[in-house]
Symmetry: C2
Subunit: 223 residues, 2 copies
């Protein structure tokens, strides 16, 4: 399964890229608006993995080229850009039977902490679905994973991630894919209509890290 990680030069993108590279055999392409930056970061991730004895090719490409060949496109893009990115991919005619996976969360900070601020449609995942061509499948996943913890391969994750998608087969595909990451257990949270409650865990875990001295890069387990 070919995986493209758009925004793969950012911190969540890096974490997902190195984890998928280290824990799976799926071909991985880093996407960026800036092709040269994507190539440079992909090579940097390869070097990080090589230092750990993991010999892995990671490709870098402009977003549209990365998405064109992929089976799964992870949109590791800030929430206020992700809609435009999806429309740009649609306009470039590179979206057809991919699964788009949205990990982004709308948040706003103030003196008290971070607050969940979804787009008016209800959630970023639903925004992606609304702006993608009708035939393209959309899921939400990987929202509540701290970027630093994800990127640090010396850290056991031992965390859950929640998957939402309207199509059950798509949900199953993303659940299986996420479960391939070591230390990650993927759970279903149902259709996209349930995405807001999943996304809003992200500001919560950041607030918990802020207000409890012994907790850092907080994640969640359900049981």
């Amino acid at each position: 399964m070919q995986i493209a990680i758009l925004g793969g030069t950012g911190d969540i993108g890096e974490g997902l890229a190195v984890r998928f590279a280290a824990d799976t055999t799926h071909p991985i392409t880093i996407g960026s608006r800036d092709e040269a930056k994507a190539v440079e970061r992909a090579s940097a991730y390869e070097s990080r993995l090589a230092e750990r004895g993991i010999d892995r090719d990671i490709a870098g490409a402009a977003n549209a080229a990365a998405a064109a060949d992929a089976d799964v496109v992870i949109l590791a893009i800030p929430p206020h850009h992700v809609g435009d990115t999806v429309e740009a991919l649609a306009d470039a005619d590179v979206l057809s039977d991919q699964v788009l996976v949205s990990p982004a969360v709308g948040m706003q900070g103030d003196g008290d902490g971070l607050h969940y601020r979804p787009p008016s449609i209800g959630s970023v995942s639903e925004l992606v679905a609304a702006r993608a061509p009708e035939e393209v499948s959309v899921a939400g996943a990987f929202h509540n994973l701290a970027a630093d913890r994800l990127a640090d391969l010396d850290t056991d994750l031992d965390l859950d991630t929640l998957v939402v998608a309207d199509d059950e087969a798509v949900r199953e595909t993303v659940l299986e894919l996420a479960n391939e990451l070591e230390g990650i257990r993927a759970l279903s949270a149902g259709p996209l209509a349930n995405a807001a409650e999943v996304e809003s865990v992200t500001p919560l875990v950041i607030n918990i890290a802020r207000y409890n001295d012994d907790l850092h890069d907080v994640g969640v387990r359900f049981h």
Copy 2:
């Protein structure tokens, strides 16, 4: 510390009552709009505890009488009634230096699952603060605990609960109180402004229980 559990005849109220009775020595009063019902349920909880060899007095009273003598008043009341209940207590002149603790969450269900629907002020905890007299302290806690799991004393909880309050000393009081429950770890999520992200975990854990066959009465641990 005298604890009143208003709405203590309901399912979350029952769970909190029997856990506080079993795990602490604080005097406990069950409050209800219907005094006779409160007395009857308090006696039923006593019997349940006696069957386990726990000799414990639990009082029953009308809400206002229960709250009048309490140090901590837990509002285990449906979210659409809790504001009126707080105003009724204020009108009855029984609120002064108590800490009000709000575990209620506004939710609405449809075919997809449960969705977080806070009051327009932002959260039930903030609604309670807005409708309580100014000198009364308000905290949010015990939102994300499944009632059946809480009420079943044979079940190890091994769960977190999140506490929000604007006054740090009040937050500390409620954290300490919640930590007295066996198998509960209380974490701070900061001021009341952060309550919405705490409350919205409740519909999420119910959705997770619905969409994952091997999970029931789901709760959460942060780490």
